[in-house]
Each structure stands twice: as C-alpha cells, then as structure tokens.
Symmetry: C2
C-alpha cells in the first residue's frame, strides 16, 4: 500500500457530474503534476486539470489528508463534468503522474487494512450499493454502521470472559483463584452457543431483505393467477386469457411489497395430471418445483365456482414443509359460490383487496423470517456459516469443561470463527473473494 | 427561481459514488429537514441522511453558499454510495423536505439566468459532457471558458464603436463632433463583416471536432476496402472475403484518429454498372451517395493489379466538389504492378502503413476544416447562423453609411444577432430548446 491508486468512482455513462478519486501516500505530490490549484484539507476548491500546459477541465477538488479518511490514507476527490471521455482523460493523467489504476474494491480494501472499518462493514459497502428496497438498504446500512460487528464483538468478549476463568484454572491450578466450576462455565458456554445460533438464524430474514423472497402463486387452472400477478406488479406482465391453461411456463416478476423485495412467480394451473397433455404436464411439474423453493405460497381459489378436492390438495401441497400460505379468494366481482374464513377476498380484475393482499404477503414474509423488525440481521451466507460453526465449537467446549484444556481449544475455535466475520482472522482468499465483488472506484 | 431544485447528478446505474445536488434560496433550511450534521461553507463534512428519525445513509456534504456558486444560488452536493435506490431515496427525502425535481439542464439554466455564464458557455456544458475525443473536448472546454464569447464580445464592441460615430452624426448633426466620413465607416463595417464570416467559417472544423468527420472508403471491387476499415478501426467489423463484391450495404464505424473523431464508411466496390446485377447496382448507388456526403474520401487501389480506367473514374468522382482525397495503394505485401507518387502504400493484411494513413487522414481533415489549431471554433449551427446573419447585416450597414439612419438600423441588427450567441438577446424558445438537450442534474 505504498502506491497511489486512482479510479473513476461514478457509474459509466454520461451524466452531469463524475468523480475521479485517488488514494495513497503521495496524493498531493501526484496531484501537483496534473492539477493547478491549492489543495486545502477538506475544502472544496476549483482546480484546473492540465495535460502539460494544456488545460483540460475545471474540476472541484476536495483533499482529505490521512489518516482520518475513508481509506485511512490521503484521499483526493475530483468532481468534473460527467463525460466518460473527460473522466478517462483525468484518470489517464493521474496514472501518467504516478498513480496506478485501482482494482475493484481496492479503496474499501485499504479502508479495511488500515483499520478504518472491519470486514463485515467493508462487505456492507457492496451490499448497500446493490440495495434495491428500503429493507435491504437498511440492513446494509446497519451492517456498515457496525451493528453486526458490535453483536459479534459482544459474543467474543463474553467468550473471552469464560475463557479467562477456564485458562486461569489451567495456568495456576494451585493458586488462590476464584473457584472454577465446570458446570457454571458449561452453562455460560451453552448460552453463548444459543446466542450465536439466534444471530445465525436471522440470516433467513437477512437473505429475504437483501435478495428478496420467492413467492409462488398457485391454484387450479383459470382461477386468475396471472391476473393476480399483474395486479400485484401493477402492469401487464403475464398473458391473461379466459381460456384455462394459458400460462404454461413459469413467469417471474420482481415486486416491492412496501419496502420488501419479492420475486412473484406465476405458475401453470394444477389439476389431475391424467386429464392434461404433455405440455401442460410439464408446466405443472415446473409449478411444483417453484412451489418447493418458495418462501411463501399464495393459493388462488375462484370463489365463483365450488371448492373442490383439487383445491384441497393444492392447499396441502402449498403448506408442506411449514411454508406460510395465503389463500386468495379471487373474482370478488362475480357472485360467490363458496366462502373461507382464512381467505382474503380479492378481485384481480377491479383491484379490490390487492393492497390488503400485498400487505399480508409482507407480514407473512416478515414473520417467516423469524426476527422482529429492528433486530441485527445476518445478510451474508459467509457470516451465517461462521456463526453456526462458532455455535458448534461453543457447544463442544461446553461439553468438555471438565477437561479444561479441551474446553479452551474449542472456545478459541469459536473465537476464531467469529473473528472471521469482522476480519480479525480472515485468510487472504476470503478477502480476495469479497473485494472482487466490488465495483471499481469503491 | 424562488424554489429549490434537486436531482441526481451522476449517471444512472451502480457505482462507488453518486451525487445528489440541490440549488435554490432555501437550501440550508430544506437540508436541515433531512440531514443531520453541520453545513460549513465549502467544507466537506459527513452528514447523516435521515428519514424522520431513521438514519438512511452517511453522505459527504459540501455546501456552497450563493452567489459565488455554479448556479449563482445556494448549492448543496451530497456524495453518497452509488446505489440507484439510495440516491432516489435521498432525492425523495429532499423533495419531501420542500425541494422539487429539477428539469433537464435546470441547474445550468439558473447559472445562465443568474449571470454566472453566458449562453454560449452554458451550451458548452452539454458539448463537454458529450465530447468523445481530445479535439471535441478541447473545443467544448474552450467555449466553456469563454473563448467564443470573448471573440463575439470583441466584435460587438467594435460595432458599437462605429455605431457611436454613426449615431452621433444623427443626434447632433450640427455639433462640433469628430468628422463622420461614410467611406471610413463603410470600410470598418465591411472589415467587421469579414471577421464575423471568418468566425462562422470555423464551424466546418468545429462540427468535425464535435460530431466527427465522415470518411468514405471507395474503390473497385476487391481492392481491400473492408480490410482497410478493419485495420483502421483495429477490430473485425466488416466481413472480409477474397471474393469480389462481399460488401453490399455500407458499413459505418467510428474511429479516433489521434484525437479527432471520424466515422469511417466502407462501401461496395465500384465498377461498370452494366456488368453488375441489381443487388450490386444498389450497393454502388449507396456507395456514391455516401461519397457525396463525405468530408474526406480514401480511394483504395490494388497495387498488385494494373491501374485501370475504372480507377481513374473513381479518383475523379472522389475529388468532385473539392473534397480532399487520399489514395491508398493497398496490398503492399504482394508484388507491385503499379506505382503512384501521390499514394500511401499500405497493407491492410500486415498493418504496414496503417498508422501513416490514419495520420494523413487526420491532417487532411484538419486542413479541410480551414482553421489553424488553437483558433476559436464555432461548434454549433445556431452560432454559425447568427454570425452569418450578423455579417449580412454589417455588409448592408456598410452599403448604407451615406444614409446614417439606415446604417445604424443594420448595425444594430448585427449587434442583436451576435447578442443571440451569448444570450443577451436570446428568446425563450431558444433557451428552452437549448436546455432541453441537457441531462437531468446539470
């Protein structure tokens, strides 16, 4: 990290403004070679970008002297006109002046290596940039602000507390130390394993927040599943016709259910396979495959026809594996032939009840994720796995407290696993993998 | 302009950083409703973007108090993570706090209306953002820095000088004024008309710089025109085969000839129409149409076969209308059957001579544009037309100096025309048309 890195930090394409940023130990020296104008700490000042004696652009320069900066190094941000040509030109001048092109995520990598943020926070930067909904942006922002890191650090400190007692009994078996009681420490370690597992379990919700939930819309043919998808998404995505079996393949559409991203999947109508031809049978097979991967099922019944054994079978199939199910009694615009207490009455045609259905979907998904609003969320699989392994190690340590040495080994293993999350013990491959997913300039 | 406008100023899409900007009289008051943190003039400071009590993002805020700002008003730039969702969210919060969405070019329009730049400079902002080459970026930058405006202002001042003498003779015919000699003033006005025409004539070069030149590559079938296009562009754009007549439609490809943008047009081979089928004849018709619109023709001869009457006719056709012509003697890798002093020997196959050909194309295009490097360039048609009309009015004034009143009317007409360029006399429709071509946020 003894060189200066440079990159265009704004998205590609034409815009009003664009930013070129430089970070490293020699930033003012390098800037002096292609920039005319004073650099005053944290002051925005106009500077002329020059190619030799030729002025190329008038940019707003803000110089942040290290180490109290994003990267922990001297940092320079040049805001110029958002011309892709001009921004490349400025970048090229920076490189000719001694900087080198930054790799993806290298600014944030330096921030991490210089202790400006831990690894979980660094990962949150990429999450935040990719956030699509209020829920995912909030989860990423919380992680960036250190919410997850603090939860992990708290666990680590508690483990260290137990470990101190366990290891003191090893180092000074004959000293006059506070009594070491294996049962008490075992209880403490089990409680910590539980806490780690609880945190890991928020990953379901975290994943839903970041990636969105999968919602299968299922039902008999011609109950109006495609119309319902269109009504929920608010535009004509699926082809709708009064003819049964119009939808043969599955159709996916992203929707924002009041700040929670969901992928709605419209599927072929399900009925007795014996009555269906080969194309329809394949459609039903796909519908069932989608259903088995869904976080939530919306079963659509047609209230203008009688409830049937097929409807019953579909409801059972949808609820299999403990998946939450919402029953939508469609065609509330037509005369009613059956009623269900547990169903929401909707009309995909008139839009009646659609808002209520979307709200219910959001509630069910929030409940299914098993963590109340505002709680720390684990978004990344990497973090979940580390927490689960830490919990296993803590359980093992709890079982071994009678043999203090073994208990210590397992508790230290748990510490190492938790350390991976915040990056205290993350190997180089993990860092490489994490930062390669970043965009250039971040 | 008594409201605050807001927009995302960076290009759409994900990136490391993105900017939301606000301009108007109440910026600090509006910012206080969704931003927590101190705003110190021209100081970069971290601020928390808040939705009510909920923190949404940590952004770098730079506050520029008016009137010494881009827009001439209070201006606030918030640099946040380059997440499209997050930037829209911040924009939405600004709007909920009392700002309104800016229209395309509205920031620059305010800069113009507040006298921070003249109209020619405002137009240069859009040119600079769209610049693709060194030449076009430089022309736009010069215009933004006021080079054209100064040239126009100089003309205006000289006209005003003559006008003062002419009008003094009207207002005070009997006073003891410096002698008014119609011939002297006529000469001065004609010289100014000439100067306006010279400036207007730079438009050819200005257009070439901004839009790029059109270069037709013509020649008999199978001389290697498509291979030459590929060699100049540096990748396989045109389909090449040893079979004569492979290119039937015309193919265009943009190329950067050492800082000058050009559109190279590969065309069908030209030969006796009697020998060609209908498809080939249509190809030849299109080749000729392209040639007639070209700023430069590159005639490709095959030096491994004899020079023919058809080659002669193509050379004549290419040079028609005074268009510059470069002769490329292709296939320098094969034995030579004819030689020409005026030709560049090239091999599209080996790449030999291609650099020299590109350099020559650039030189010819620079020469064809009729203005030496470094001179003020008129890039926009609007400016050229205004200059030409000013020249006509000046000529008319020169012819009428014997009737001082008429001379004065025409000289004032010339002033008004020149005033349109810098915006002293531009009607609202012109402003609307100009700023509608801007991107939002500029």
């Amino acid at each position: 990290m003894n060189d200066v890195i440079a990159a265009i930090a704004t998205p590609a394409g034409e815009g009003a403004l664009g930013i070129v940023r430089l970070s490293g130990p020699d930033v003012p020296a390098i800037a002096a070679r292609f920039l005319r104008g004073p650099l005053r700490p944290r002051q925005a000042a106009l500077a002329i970008v020059q190619d030799g004696a030729q002025p190329v652009e008038r940019a707003m320069a803000v110089y942040y002297p290290g180490p109290e900066t994003y990267t922990g190094e001297d940092l320079l941000e040049l805001t110029a006109h958002g011309s892709p040509y001009l921004l490349s030109r400025i970048l090229e001048l920076a490189v000719r002046s001694g900087a080198r092109l930054a790799e993806p995520g290298e600014f944030t990598r330096r921030a991490y290596l210089n202790g400006r943020m831990d690894l979980a926070q660094a990962e949150a930067v990429a999450l935040l940039i990719r956030a699509r909904t209020e829920t995912s942006a909030r989860a990423a922002f919380d992680q960036l602000e250190g919410k997850l890191s603090r939860a992990v650090e708290e666990l680590r400190l508690k483990i260290l507390g137990v470990l101190a007692v366990v290891e003191a009994s090893l180092d000074h078996p004959d000293d006059d130390l506070p009594a070491f009681r294996p049962e008490t420490e075992a209880e403490a370690l089990s409680a910590l394993a539980q806490a780690a597992r609880r945190l890991a379990a928020t990953h379901r919700r975290g994943r839903l927040a970041a990636e969105g939930a999968r919602v299968s819309i299922v039902g008999r043919p011609n109950t109006g599943k495609s119309s319902l998808l269109n009504a929920l998404v608010g535009r004509d995505r699926a082809i709708v016709s009064p003819e049964a079996g119009t939808t043969r393949d599955t159709l996916e559409e992203a929707a924002d259910l009041g700040g929670m991203r969901a992928v709605l999947v419209d599927t072929a109508g399900l009925r007795d396979e014996g009555e269906a031809g080969p194309v329809e049978r394949e459609g039903m097979r796909r519908a069932r495959a989608q259903l088995s991967a869904a976080d939530l099922a919306v079963v659509v019944l047609d209230r203008s026809v009688d409830f049937s054994g097929e409807d019953r079978r579909i409801l059972d199939e949808a609820a299999a594996g403990g998946r939450p199910v919402i029953v939508a009694l469609n065609k509330s615009d037509l005369p009613k032939r059956h009623h269900r207490e547990d169903a929401l009455e909707v009309s995909a045609l008139s839009g009646e009840g659609i808002e209520a259905l979307a709200a219910r979907m959001r509630l069910e998904l929030a409940a299914a994720s098993g963590a109340p609003e505002g709680e720390t969320l684990v978004v990344s699989v990497r973090h979940r796995v580390a927490l689960e392994r830490a919990a296993e190690a803590l359980d093992e340590a709890a079982r071994r407290t009678a043999e203090a040495e073994l208990a210590s080994v397992h508790a230290r293993e748990a510490l190492a696993r938790l350390g991976e999350i915040v990056g205290k013990t993350a190997p180089e491959e993990v860092l490489r993998e994490i930062f390669s997913r970043f965009c250039i300039g971040k």
